[in-house]
């Protein structure tokens, strides 16, 4: 349900140990550093949201999407705060609270850098496909100087480098909650379907989003979930 203001989450209020009131205010307080992100239990927030959904409300997808977006942003914020980026001096980080002015300045600077990145991307894209001449002359024997110190430093860093963890499975989310909800609806038109079948060809992220979409449809009363035993097979049925 979307309020007159056009903000889908307008009516959503939360009750936490550290805060009680409108969810939007909570976000504002966190952003303005008036509430410590560490103190906000994100899991609890998600449960409150799911419990708050009005029974039989048919139009919650937009609200769900907004909530998922802001919750993801909170997770990101929290993880960034947990692993703070070193500041310019390389010294202590974020001791004093950041004023809205400072935050605005930082965001502005970042926004500009991001736009700059777009300009760079465009130029690099337009200039791919130029290959240089392979007829470059070899430097005269003896002209080339190799810095042995640099070589040994390179050896040390190469041989002691930790292997990066594999990240191939973290593909980008390529479908939206809405698209998956539509997919679930059309699959259900042919009768019950197991969750495993539904997500068989999806990567883990998409499978997770599909589950969120299914939960959303349950709340809308469009489908029922059937799971006879804990952790057992899960079947989606038209409601």
């Amino acid at each position: 349900m979307i309020g007159e203001s056009g903000r889908a989450l307008e009516g959503f209020t939360v009750e936490l140990d550290v805060y009680s009131g409108p969810y939007e205010w909570l976000l504002a307080l966190i952003l303005r550093d008036e509430l410590e992100i560490f103190e906000v239990p994100l899991r609890e927030l998600v449960s409150i949201y799911l419990d708050s959904k009005p029974e039989g409300d048919l139009n919650t997808l937009e609200r769900d999407t907004d909530f998922a977006g802001s919750a993801a942003a909170l997770v990101l914020l929290k993880s960034r705060t947990l692993a703070p980026a070193p500041d310019e001096e390389g010294g202590e980080t974020g001791e004093e609270p950041v004023s809205p002015e400072q935050l605005a300045e930082r965001l502005t600077a970042y926004l500009k850098v991001q736009r700059g990145a777009e300009a760079i991307r465009g130029r690099l894209e337009a200039n791919r496909g130029f290959y240089a001449s392979a007829h470059a002359l070899r430097p005269r024997p003896g002209r080339l100087r190799l810095d042995r110190e640099k070589l040994l430093r390179a050896a040390r860093s190469t041989f002691s480098r930790l292997t990066d963890p594999p990240v191939e499975h973290l593909g980008p989310i390529t479908v939206t909650l809405q698209e998956l909800a539509a997919l679930i609806r059309s699959s259900l038109a042919r009768g019950p379907i197991s969750y495993e079948d539904l997500v068989r060809d999806m990567d883990r992220l998409n499978a997770a989003v599909a589950f969120a979409a299914a939960l959303s449809l349950v709340h809308e009363g469009r489908l029922a979930l059937h799971q006879p035993e804990p952790l057992g097979p899960l079947t989606l049925r038209p409601a």
């Binding site: 976000l27 909170l74 960034r80 390389g90 970042y110 500009k112 850098v113 791919r128």
Partner: protein, 208 residues
């Protein structure tokens, strides 16, 4: 095709220039071209003008580029598929948005340290920096002596300008032109920087 070359014939300015350009994989500055060929200013301009016609992108598989403060012969992107088949190499994958952001930091705010880049972006950028060093698009151009441990200062390279088909920094839009005043005002408003403590900023969720 490999007929006798008359040794007494003096090569034209264009011929001298293209011979030098063929044996360089990097762009060659006008000064270096003049030193090598012995041409004067007028001869250089004349020769480059002729090469511009001979290596025009409309008709030639090899084109003359003016990039990174110099001149370079390179393959025409229209022929890239044949080149890649010949080399049995895939076209280099485009850079991620993270990589473009790091380059943007170095181009517009640099030279700067890894730490400064991470601070601007709000995330640790070391892995991305390493990859860009690897690709030769970033280089360590000095050290920040003021900071403990004198961390390396990173800047974009000539190779970056060549890859972007740019002559210099001046070919990129100025940073301040990239974000409009209206947009900046909206950012400030959303963050409550304009001091409106009683009302929560509108559309906060979307702004996250």
């Amino acid at each position: 095709m490999t007929g006798p070359i008359k040794d007494d014939a003096v090569p034209s300015p264009a011929a001298l220039l293209e011979a030098v350009l063929l044996v360089s994989s990097q762009p060659v500055s006008a000064a270096a071209l003049r030193t090598a060929t012995g041409l004067d200013e007028a001869g250089l301009e004349d020769g480059l003008g002729q090469l511009g016609v001979k290596y025009a992108p409309e008709s030639s598989g090899v084109v003359l580029r003016n990039v990174a403060g110099g001149y370079q012969l390179a393959t025409n992107p229209a022929c890239a598929a044949a080149v890649e088949r010949f080399r049995e190499e895939a076209r280099p994958t485009p850079l991620s948005s993270a990589a473009n952001e790091v380059l943007s930091c170095a181009l517009y705010l640099g030279p700067l340290t890894r730490g400064a880049i991470s601070a601007v972006r709000g995330v640790n950028s070391d892995a991305v920096v390493r990859n860009l060093l690897e690709r030769g698009l970033l280089a360590e151009v000095g050290a920040d002596e003021e900071s403990p441990g004198s961390p390396a200062l990173l800047g974009v390279t000539e190779e970056f300008f060549a890859a972007a088909g740019a002559g210099s920094r001046a070919d990129f839009p100025p940073l301040d032109s990239l974000v409009g005043d209206e947009e900046l005002a909206r950012v400030r408003e959303r963050l409550g920087a304009a001091e409106t403590p009683a009302t929560p900023p509108a559309g906060e969720a979307e702004g996250l």
